[in-house]
């Protein structure tokens, strides 16, 4: 707490050629590619992360699978799969681009020591030597992934050098060019450890701060608040900072609602695909079969082919049961393991049990905590499944994000898909990937890494072509200092007005502001309390309440650096939430049933809405504007 003596921060200014904001999968991919093209070290490259790169981002815990590895598949089939999963509207150029490069990143991971499971007989043989991976699905491969992030981070750190990495600095905002409002040339943030503000000037920047969690009220609200599915530390910084800098966002109406093991949010992929578990309703019925006819209604089946359907549609079939009082939903782990064990030796059964536990221990340890506390052994007792609260992200089974320029070498790409450098946003100098790059979901960990590399190459080219840029900030250092430390100043000014430090008419704590945001989003913008339903009137109410919340964000207080971090995270959450709400309001159809329902427009309406919705934000007026952008099919429908 440093005795509240932290009113006047020291300002550190630094000029670099390329700034990487974030230290996750995309950032580490970028670092790896950038420094190879910069072998003579002519360019100064810096990475800044709010946490420690070794364990920052969504992969902090580890992962039990790499979800995108093409192997024997053609990239065109990968595009078809992503297109189907995301209900038809995707940027096929970006997805194809990821598809053709992603395997190379996986091959690098294996070289750096990531253990990848191999089929019997191929143990010890690397993927590049033809070793066959253990697949849980057409695109996923299993790994021993506890140290996935430290491994990928080590390669990035070695490439960049620790001197060029600044950890524990939270970036608050980008800064546009004084002479060119359509360009970014700076970023401002603060140390969460020391009383310091950091101002970076650059020619190009890669904004890769992941997606957004905790904008909706989570299902657990006590000590368990932290157990969201999505890592609680990614606060929508990517979307908020890009929007404030003037970048066009796309498909921000899209969200991800994973159906997971209840309360612990353990993954279901290996259970369904590898162990062949089935899920059922309270009456023991296979509701997926039973409700399959529902896909004929409202046009929701437009992109279903056989059993292949969008992730949201699986939720749709499950939510129907919950709505009609036929929950809980169970996953029958008992039968699944018993069936597998039938043909196994005791030794093999032990191995199978370990695999089932490892699936959680590698990436959702908390689920094991719940099993241990509730005496659940999966071979003896079934678990429950539950759709979670909504998250915004662009690299998992969701596609919210920033509108990016794509590659120009793929046949048939229209002009509005590539206006600049690959993965550059509509703001010059601002690039993104991973969860930041919109309309191109299903990149996952490997695709985000490969995407960071794709963006990196383009950034080098951009910097070479724009070498004469002299970054001039459109605001003064003093203004930035005041803006970033406003919550501190507010606290110091008013703290003695009341006896109770947290209840004060002059300020709001970041925690209460977050609760208010979550209440608005949950109750009016299709959170869990309405089973993901909203309508125009609810959205109008939300709009008004969010407007006032945004006004009140000026009264956020910070009593220490930790709270300053929470204050700015929550500011980023408000902007992200507002974008989400605006997009849902604009798209008058139900494109993603199972993720959310416009109860006043329940149909999936291809005739009017098979298009992107893009938005821009004016930081001076605080207003959003949305528009339709044409979608183009690049890859033929199969067979």
């Amino acid at each position: 707490m440093s005795g509240y003596s932290f009113g006047k921060p020291e300002v550190i200014e630094e000029e670099v050629d390329i700034l990487i904001i974030g230290g996750g999968m995309a950032a580490c991919g970028a670092a790896f590619e950038l420094q190879r093209w910069n072998a003579d070290k002519a360019l100064k490259i810096k990475m800044v992360d709010k946490a420690a790169v070794d364990r920052s981002g969504a992969v902090a815990q580890g992962l039990s699978a790499i979800n995108t590895y093409l192997g024997e598949n053609d990239p065109a089939d990968y595009v078809r799969y992503v297109r189907r999963d995301l209900m038809g509207i995707t940027r096929e150029d970006l997805i194809y681009d990821t598809g053709r490069h992603v395997d190379d990143s996986v091959h690098q991971f294996e070289k750096w020591g990531l253990p990848i499971w191999k089929q019997e007989g191929d143990e010890g043989k690397s993927l590049t030597e033809g070793g066959k991976p253990v697949r849980t699905g057409r695109w996923q491969i299993m790994i021993n992934g506890e140290s996935y992030k430290p491994i990928v981070a080590a390669a990035a750190i070695k490439a960049l050098g620790m001197d060029n990495i600044q950890e524990h600095v939270f970036i608050v905002r980008l800064i546009n060019d004084k002479n060119d409002a359509g360009r970014v040339v700076g970023a401002a943030g603060f140390s969460v450890r020391e009383n310091k503000i950091y101002i970076y000037r650059f020619k190009a920047c890669l904004l890769v701060c992941g997606g957004a969690v905790n904008i909706f009220r989570p299902r657990s609200v006590g000590e368990g608040t932290g157990r969201a599915w999505y890592p609680v530390w990614n606060a929508g910084s990517t979307y908020a900072m890009a929007a404030e800098a003037g970048a066009e966002l796309t498909l921000m109406e899209n969200r991800f609602v994973p159906a997971r093991f209840k309360d612990g949010y353990g993954p279901v992929g290996a259970w369904f695909l590898l162990f062949k578990a089935k899920s059922m309703n309270a009456q023991g019925e296979d509701y997926q079969e039973k409700n399959a006819h529902m896909l004929q209604e409202h046009g929701y089946g437009a992109y279903v082919k056989g059993h292949a359907m969008g992730t949201c549609l699986r939720n749709h079939l499950m939510i129907h049961e919950l709505k009609n009082g036929r929950g809980p939903i169970f996953i029958d782990t008992v039968t699944a393991l018993a069936n597998l064990a039938k043909k196994m030796t005791p030794e093999e059964i032990k191995h199978l049990e370990a695999e089932a536990w490892e699936d959680f221990l590698d990436m959702t340890i908390g689920q094991c905590g719940i099993w241990a506390g509730e005496n659940i052994e999966p071979d003896k007792q079934m678990s429950e499944l539950m759709p979670t609260e909504p998250y915004l992200l662009g690299s998992h089974a969701g596609c919210a994000g920033i509108w990016c320029s794509g590659p120009d070498d793929l046949p048939g790409t229209p002009d509005h898909y590539h206006w600049g450098y690959n993965r550059m946003t509509t703001v010059r100098g601002l690039f993104t990937e991973g969860d930041g790059c919109g309309a191109s979901g299903h990149k996952f960990s490997s695709g985000s890494h490969a995407g960071g590399r794709i963006a990196a190459k383009a950034m080098i080219k951009y910097v070479q072509d724009n070498n004469d840029i002299v970054p001039e900030l459109d605001c003064s250092i003093d203004e930035l200092k005041q803006e970033l430390y406003r919550p501190v100043a507010t606290f110091l000014k008013y703290k003695d007005y009341t006896t109770a430090i947290d209840v004060n008419p002059h300020y709001i704590t970041p925690k209460m502001l977050q609760f208010r945001l979550q209440k608005i989003m949950d109750e009016y913008v299709a959170g869990v309390s309405t089973l993901y339903q909203t309508n125009a009137t609810m959205l109008r109410v939300a709009e008004r309440k969010l407007g006032m919340l945004k006004e009140d964000s000026l009264k956020l207080r910070a009593k220490d650096l930790h709270e300053l971090l929470r204050a700015w995270e929550n500011y980023h959450r408000i902007l992200t939430a507002e974008a989400h709400m605006k997009h849902i309001q604009f798209r008058e159809e139900t494109r993603y049933p199972g993720y959310y329902y416009r109860a006043d427009f329940l149909d999936l309406d291809d005739e009017n809405w098979k298009c992107f919705v893009n938005s821009t934000y004016d930081r001076h007026t605080g207003e959003w504007s949305c528009k339709k952008v044409p979608w183009v099919e690049l890859i033929k429908e199969a067979d």
């Binding site: 490069h101 990531l114 253990p115 932290g226 157990r227 094991c368 590659p407 190459k457 930790h562 690049l634």
Partner: protein, 154 residues
Amino acid sequence: MPTYVRTDKCDGCQDQKKTVCMHICPHDLMRLDKDGSETGHAKKAYNQEPEQCWECYACVKICPQNAIECRSYADVTPLGGMVQPMRGSDAIVWNIKFRNGNKKRFEFPIRTIAEESIDPYSGTPETIEAELADHSTLFTKGTHSCDFSQFNAS
């Protein structure tokens, strides 16, 4: 499942400037109480915002004193369970204790080569300046084969 720090084990990382748990937590939760004014336990760490803990175990795995453990969130889970890892240089061991006293132990590999020997550029080709604007390849030249006849425009 918030983490807690055991008073009998934490040594404040021997008063180093950088306590390891503080350094590693991705959510800035671990904090060193330098003089005991915050917790009553001087030179020991604590989780300053337990309801924000993702139970990612990054701090648990890295603490040199094995002083950090998790107690599954009290608003969700019955008491008595315990999931505790021991992470070595190439494997991790997990000890699981159920509420009813049952125990399980698992061991998994975490890496195939030592961290120090990761060399990102060994065996990779040099870059070719002319390929900088070529979207079909990254510097490692590992592009997947592509069947362009699958495009509408081909």
